[in-house]
Amino acid sequence: MSQYFFQQLINGFSLGSLYALVAIGFSMIYGIVRLINFAHGDVVMIGAFSTLALVTAGVPWPIILVFVLAVGAVAGMSIEMVVFRSIRGASQVTGFIATLAVSITIQNSALMLLSGQPRNFLFPAFMRQRVGVGGVNASLTDIAIIVLTLILIGGLFLIVYRTRLGTAMRATAENLTAARLMGVAVNRTVLAAFAIGSALAAVAGFFWGGKFGQIDPLLGFVPGLKAFVACVIGGVGSIGGAMMGGYILGLAEVLFVGLLPQEYSGYRDTFVFLLLIVILLVRPSGLFVRQVEERA
């Protein structure tokens, strides 16, 4: 039992890592423009298909990872420049509808270009082999996801809390006017937040195919929504909270499926959104009501 439990735990951390990667970017973007980026999930899809294309072309994995980061950054910056810039300062609802429209545009363009047919996608065999310690074993894919995510999040924290750009991002998120009065080029700072956040989402897409074996043009929708759930769990606008929320959501989901009888596993997403509604009601500002300092 405990072996099974640990195995589920690893599984949950791996899924949670993906959610955390998406949720952090979502939260960064929300923190700085105060609007939900509904198209954020679609960057995951873009990352997944870029990975597939590069794998098919025979590009080595480390280069693929770098490239996917870049693709995500470009996608995020394009979304910012095309849509967010023109509606900056608009109401939440206007922002929501506009980005929903972007999301639907991206999804349907992908459908047109790539067709709705799911594509098989597997990491190379060595990544799929399982390594074990004391009866608990995990696939190398899961371990790679967990470790790489931690490294990326560490790097992100360094950027946000230790660099001039990061300080400017946090300052802009808190008070746009004051940041401008300090001489911060706000457009560039906002663009940087979109670039970094979207790059992380694209990395989630990089892992997506390897973890689930299939990708399709609509795969970004549910992770996008779940990123929002994760942010709500951790407190919207907080990077640390989004990360925690992502891990909690991944673990909760896996444990829900793993510990309940088989016939309930189809209710996985139902469970997640019931959880969202419950949390929104009980702790609308997130489970970890932190100081504003976590905002960025």
């Binding site: 001039r164 400017a168 300052a171 808190e174 008070n175 004051a178 940041a179 300090m182 300092e293």
Partner: protein, 240 residues
């Protein structure tokens, strides 16, 4: 140093500034007084490039180099040395005190110079050095004001725009702040001060302007205005 002519600014469809003109010479301390909603803060936001004017000019000249404030980006204006310390302090509450000060020096790259400015600010406000690693949001109102001024100083202002530095502060703290303003002036920083506390502002101002519903209605030296009947009645609370 600053030459503003016939500035007209709209916020939405409201005509806020109407043909506003004034001048501030280098090394001078100029004050702009007026009631709530007269358009004082709008004037400053326009000067810092945050509000585009409908018409008129505003030229800031530093070291003989003119900069058209109605066209320049706020970033460029800060780089030119025209620094605003905004109304209500607007420090970054979630950042630490030292990070706030670092934001003040955002446009500067000279590490040694920044370090020196930082030391000067810490000398001016020792309390900020003590609290360097605390969140700015945990400071008292007076300390936050000091931080706001310190942050502006780190930008190495040639001219400082101060928006209501006395707002909501205890009288003792206000005195301290005005002391600092006078000291800054003596170091050669040009200052444009906006105040509702007209008495204190006129007391230290070389020249002053009175703004009413978006127009400059009076101007003169600080003491001239302090003795003007209209100013005395409306802003200094002296019965006619």
């Amino acid at each position: 140093m600053l030459d503003v002519r016939d500035l007209n600014v709209f916020r939405g469809s409201t005509h806020v500034l109407k043909d506003v003109s004034f001048r501030v010479e280098e090394g001078e301390l100029a004050a702009l007084i007026g009631a709530n909603g007269a358009g004082k803060s709008t004037t400053l936001l326009t000067l810092s490039g945050l509000l585009p004017p409908r018409s008129g000019t505003a030229v800031f000249t530093n070291d003989g180099e003119p900069l058209d404030l109605t066209r320049a980006s706020s970033e460029k204006i800060v780089r030119a040395g025209l620094i605003q310390c905004p109304e209500g302090r607007q420090i970054f509450q979630s950042l630490s005190v030292s990070e706030n000060l670092a934001m003040g020096a955002y446009t500067r790259r000279d590490r040694a110079g920044i370090k020196q400015s930082l030391e000067e600010v810490y000398e001016l406000f020792p309390i900020l050095a003590e609290r360097a690693n605390l969140h700015a949001g945990s400071l008292s109102g007076g300390e936050q004001m000091m931080l706001a001024i310190g942050r502006a100083l780190l930008a190495q202002p040639r001219m400082l725009l101060l928006d209501e530095p006395s707002l909501g502060l205890a009288p003792l703290v206000v005195e301290k702040i005005f002391d600092v303003i006078a000291r800054l002036k003596s170091t050669g920083v040009t200052i444009f001060l906006i105040e509702q506390n007209a008495a204190m502002a006129l007391d230290i101002a070389d020249v002053a302007y009175v703004m009413e519903t978006g127009r400059i209605v009076l101007s003169g030296t600080g003491s001239e205005l302090a003795n003007n009947d209209r100013v005395r009645q409306s802003y200094l609370g002296v019965a006619a």
